[in-house]
Symmetry: C2
Subunit: 383 residues, 2 copies
């Protein structure tokens, strides 16, 4: 197949920042792209070859869009699965596969998949409704504290809550959910795996999510993770196994916990380029986006190793500001060594809205960490 | 000035591959762009915010385009200078300045500028027409061999010819030209300088153009140049001086000869991102394109040092092929360590047409050089 400056068409469901960063590489290779997104202001609207506005959960819209392209991928999981399955049955290459997506879209099914395939994960129970969970709790079949997770449509901390006392269950939606045992962990890690249809498979180095000591929020994604080599090796091996068990094609970001006694537990996966791999644009020989593209087009995978250490800081809308966005002090951080802001292109900020990220690279990871902290304390997303 | 996700407008004259690569960074920073190019199939057409089709040499077209934007730059020197001057006089920021462009557009004036400012360059004489040159030669005021260069509109070897015997002058156009003394040199070097309006100035490392031993054609651009540190230091100092003498804003690529006795002579300059800096996308902390953008927007300049060694190989149309392009064996080179093809997006190949380039990065420059040779011998631009 000739992908380069040809009539080949790659379809992308979703036109957000992940798609936008993927388009840097389709442009670099001059691969023709079709993008579908509900918003007329989607960051992908420019830089793709053809933009279509439409509902990603609507069967007809997704099916008709998919019929126009040769290979179909997605940058968001919330897409119409039936349409993807029909397209795949009719011969369109859909990567990652709708089968994988089906296993992942529901967290209960995802967790059951891990158990079935001997992939270590925190113990849990699955409930059709919140009421069923409450009954089980009253019957003392589960113990406080635990982590409540709704099984579908959660993202970025939405749909996840630590339940320490029964009153914490008030106001939760009465939907399908799981109750997961709270496992004390010392690190949250992630490994991005890429795999092509021929079965070539590579992992990026293990990254570490460093949390704010009080706010319990991820502040920095650090590559490589500052952990013991043996633990890193174990995390990579588990991530590879997860990708192989899914028979996955494309990127799979595997989020994991490192427990107090150095066990690795798989938390959840994302079948696409992932926030934990953004550092790779500047730090890696091949960015996660280029490797996603290589994987779904069955091209050889690029080197996943790093040229230098990389740290990512998210740029989220500051509390108390809504409206036309201003990146306060961005000129200041641009003057520092190895600092690259990525502005996603959303014109309006809101509290906590993901507006961009900043990558800090340096030969010395400690120096990168120091600069990252300065970046975090300097730039502000206001209006 | 708020450039990021704002109403600020950057205008770019020319929509070719240099503009296309610049747009990766305007997209990364979400800076609004207007592009003017004569071709409806310009590589910049997608990924800019507003594309205008029009003649870059036409006063009205360039002037009206420029009136719409806040800062105006160009990716090609062949633009209407009068329009730029009028725009600058009326308050539009034009970077690089039309004054510099005026000094550079004509190679005779450019050479005289070097002489006047004590910048080392090969001896030359300037002629209003080829006939005047011939008269001077007949009168023995200049000696064979010498290098004939037409003073305007030459590019990529067009408009340059080594004259070894008088018959070599046949068929040359009867235009303004210079006759330059042939100075034996052992290396062709280049240094990219960036400078912002505040006067912050940085150079990229010295790169080396390695020539094919027989064809006398540049085959590889190698960063850093494999030359003595003292010579590199001299080349950087001369390049810095050239940029300062021009009072230049933006990128200035300074091409130089290293003579047999390690003198540095300035050959010519280009006031824009340059082929000799393409390696910087993968190898440098800040690419030449991002630094051009930072410079013309008066932002702090990024780190010009390299993370790893970088080598660039041009992808030109193979002889004997015209028509819909095919990049033969591109899948093969994608499997090699640190290899990144850039496909400019021209749908039709012609012999020697610049269709793209390939960057090879590696910690070890010798290993990069070995892979670069394999790349050169493997990929072919055919139809």
């Amino acid at each position: 197949m000739n992908y380069f400056s040809s009539h080949f068409k790659l379809g992308i469901l979703g036109g957000g920042q992940l798609g936008k960063m993927l388009l840097f590489d389709t442009r670099k290779f001059d691969i023709q792209t079709y993008v579908l997104d509900p918003s007329d202001e989607a960051p992908c609207k420019i830089a793709c070859n053809h933009f279509f506005q439409g509902d990603l959960m609507d069967f007809e819209t997704v099916y008709n869009f998919g019929k126009q392209v040769d290979v179909l991928t997605f940058e968001i999981e919330l897409v119409n699965l039936d349409a993807l399955e029909k397209l795949e049955n009719e011969g369109t290459k859909v990567y990652p596969s709708p089968k994988t997506l089906k296993l992942i879209q529901n967290k209960g099914i995802q967790k059951e998949f891990y158990i079935k395939n001997n992939i270590p994960t925190a113990p849990f129970k699955r409930y059709a409704t919140l009421k069923d969970l409450v009954v089980d709790l009253v019957d003392s079949n589960i113990q406080l504290p635990f982590v409540w997770k709704c099984t579908e449509f959660g993202y970025d901390g939405n749909g996840v809550k630590v339940i320490r006392q029964t009153t914490d269950l008030e106001n939760l939606p009465n939907v399908e959910c799981i109750a997961e045992t709270m496992v004390p962990f010392k690190n949250e890690l992630a490994v991005i795996v890429c795999r092509n249809p021929q079965g070539e498979i590579k992992t990026y180095p293990v990254v570490e999510m460093e949390f704010h000591p009080e706010a319990n929020q991820v502040e920095y994604v650090i590559c490589p993770a500052r952990i013991d080599d043996k633990v890193a090796e174990k995390a990579r091996a588990i991530a590879l196994n997860v990708s192989q068990q899914f028979n996955h094609v494309g990127l799979l970001a595997v989020e994991m916990f490192q427990t107090e006694d150095d066990e690795i537990l798989v938390n959840e996966v994302a079948p696409r380029p992932h926030n934990s791999g953004h550092y790779s644009i500047e730090a890696s020989y091949t960015s996660q986006f280029e490797n996603h593209l290589r994987a779904i087009l069955d091209l050889p995978l690029g080197n996943t190793e790093s040229k230098v250490a990389g740290i990512m800081v998210n740029l989220s809308g500051a509390e108390g500001f809504s409206g036309d966005v201003i990146y306060e002090n961005i000129e200041k951080i641009l003057g520092w060594n190895g600092v690259t802001p990525h502005i996603y292109g959303k014109k309006q900020t809101r509290p906590f809205r993901k507006m961009g990220h900043v990558t800090i690279v340096n030969e010395d990871i400690n120096e990168a960490r120091r600069i990252a902290e300065d970046v975090k304390n300097t730039i502000r997303v206001i209006s």
